[in-house]
């Protein structure tokens, strides 16, 4: 296999990205091992979203390399020379990476069940019967077994985000990326989504989660990475980074977070 035992599932080295001369990522290194949950913290504009989007190629990186499960993302390495992959090959790399967005991005013209079934049928060409059964199981798992025929517009934000999680899981990803999955939710709906994510973490899913939910990071994360200004400032187990931060920027950020709520 491409991924020898012990090699990280996500191996990012010196990832750089700029938008029109604005350096947003200035050399990020990150390793995430299989089954780990990594929480990405940092102030607004520090590049957390951009880094997540680079992992599944929604953004093209300018420097560095990202490997997911041994595959170099976005390029083929032919004797030291990188060749950009075709759109089709990049789409194939994305299949194994699930992504959950801040604003859910469910397909509003499709029912909940159709949302979950869309990609396995269209992308993987799996038999419809099988996909439907799996979709119903996933909906039950996220607590929405009674809503397959509803349209996303008829659901609450928390319900929509749980459907979005089920939709991503339907592709049986190796890795799940969450970009502030609860920050667009009313406070009373945050808990149900975090519970779903906790349960997912318990199944051994590898997850990278951008979040401002310190409780979730402290309880669920194996490792916390604190980013600021496009670099990793501090990282380690939550007991160290959250409870006893060393870097001044981490300290300031955490103090502001806990004061805010």
């Amino acid at each position: 296999m491409a991924n020898p035992a012990g090699a990280p599932l996500v191996h990012a080295v010196n990832v750089m990205k700029s938008f029109h001369g604005n350096d947003v990522l200035k050399g990020i290194d990150m390793d995430v091992h299989k089954g780990q949950v990594v929480c990405l913290l940092g102030p607004s504009g520090s590049g957390k979203t951009t880094f997540l989007r680079c992992i599944n190629q929604l953004e093209t990186i300018d420097g560095g390399r990202i490997w997911v499960d041994g595959d170099l993302m976005g390029y083929a390495d032919k004797g030291g020379v990188l060749h950009r992959l075709s759109d089709k090959a990049i789409a194939a790399q994305r299949r194994d990476i699930g992504m959950v967005f801040q604003r859910f991005n469910l397909f509003p013209h499709k029912t909940v069940l159709e949302n979950v079934m869309e990609a396995p049928i269209q992308v993987k060409r799996e038999p419809k019967k099988e996909v439907e059964q799996r979709a119903m199981e996933l909906l039950a798992k996220v607590g929405l077994a009674d809503k397959p025929a509803a349209y996303p517009g008829q659901l609450s934000g928390g319900q929509q985000q749980r459907v979005a999680i089920a939709r991503a899981l339907a592709m049986r990803p190796k890795l799940m990326l969450f970009d502030e999955p609860t920050s667009a939710l009313d406070p009373e709906l945050v808990g149900e989504v975090l519970t779903t994510m906790r349960e997912l973490a318990d199944t051994g899913m590898t997850m990278i989660v951008v979040t401002h939910e310190m409780g979730f990071a402290r309880d669920v994360a194996d490792r916390v990475v604190f980013m600021d200004g496009g670099v990793v400032v501090e990282e380690g187990p939550p007991s160290e980074v959250i409870s006893n931060p060393q870097n001044i920027r981490t300290k300031t950020f955490l103090r502001r977070m806990t004061e805010g709520g």
Partner: protein
């Protein structure tokens, strides 16, 4: 249940009720000018009706007869209705393709789509149809084959001229097909703008979510973006269809004479009663367009499922495209 203790029964609160304002029974604002306007309109309508009834030149009886004549009905079906449907199919299909080209990353496709839209928007339909009808003078034979096939074949001394198939333009030059090609090509330029506004109205997050699931660009466009764009595309397309019904009267430029207006006009002229011919055509146009408007409202409901209202900005953009006609 009995009345609450604090009700009107006890004397003290009752005294207070007298002072406190009760139900409002105000005089409404008067709109005297509205009544004036109604009066003026009523008079005008009465004058129109009286002229319709008393002026024998209208001759509605003859108009109804014209409406039912076989050549007129044939013009209605084979010219106006078939022409509208076929031109709109060509126009919508090509228009969506042009819109996708216009929005693609490929600069060549973008430029081609832009040039197409520019040319066909600037070209009056009447002139376009007349030119297509006379194209036989320019290109008597239309051939599909290897580019410069004749030159290549003669220089190599081949017996064939590398043409796969061809036809004479004059064979089709006064058929409805030339009209459909002309109207459809012209319509595509407008539909391209409408489809583009529709595609742009779909939230970028939709395409990204589909991308993150590993869907190809074709799948994303067909299954995620276009169905959502339809809600914005359908209402103006209904208007375009209604406009197309009326534009089929331009088919005489080709000339295609099996068409409602010309046939109705011809009948009026032959009977030395021009006006009833116009009335007959008008009534048919009113009937078709009314039916189309009903159909349009059903389509809007269908594609609006799962959504709220169309964003205001998109609506304004579409109004502008239509006003350009």
């Amino acid at each position: 249940m009995s009345t609450p203790a604090a009700g009107s029964g006890s004397p003290a609160p009752s005294a207070a009720t007298v002072d406190r304002p009760g139900v409002i029974n105000a005089r409404p604002v008067r709109h005297p000018w509205r009544w004036v306007a109604i009066a003026v309109i009523l008079v005008l309508v009465a004058m129109m009706i009286s002229s319709l009834v008393t002026n024998p030149k209208w001759d509605f009886g003859f108009a109804f007869q014209i409406m039912q004549q076989t050549p007129v009905l044939e013009g209605l079906w084979k010219g106006t209705i078939f022409g509208t449907i076929a031109s709109m199919i060509l126009g919508v299909g090509l228009g969506v393709v042009l819109a996708v080209m216009r929005l693609s990353d490929n600069p060549v496709l973008r430029a081609v789509a832009f040039a197409y839209t520019w040319f066909f928007r600037a070209m009056p339909r009447y002139v376009l149809l007349a030119i297509l009808g006379s194209l036989g003078f320019l290109y008597a034979q239309i051939r599909f084959g290897v580019p410069f096939g004749q030159q290549i074949a003669s220089s190599l001394g081949l017996s064939t001229d590398l043409t796969f198939f061809g036809f004479s333009w004059n064979d089709i030059s006064s058929t409805i097909w030339v009209g459909v090609i002309g109207l459809g090509l012209s319509e595509a330029a407008y539909m391209a703008e409408i489809a583009r506004a529709g595609i742009l109205s779909v939230d970028k997050g939709q395409d990204e979510a589909a991308r993150a699931l590993g869907m190809s660009s074709g799948q994303r466009m067909r299954r995620i973006v276009l169905p959502q764009a339809m809600r914005v595309i359908v209402p103006p397309t209904g208007n375009e269809t209604i406009a197309m019904v009326k534009d089929t009267s331009l088919l005489t430029a080709v000339p295609v004479l099996t068409e409602l207006y010309y046939q109705a006009y011809l009948f009026g002229q032959r009977g030395f009663k021009i006006i009833p011919g116009f009335v007959a055509a008008t009534l048919w146009y009113l009937i078709i367009c009314s039916i189309l408007m009903v159909g349009q409202s059903y389509l809007e409901k269908y594609f609006g499922r799962g959504f709220g209202a169309i964003p205001k900005k998109t609506k304004e953009k579409l109004m502008k495209i239509e006003a350009d006609h």
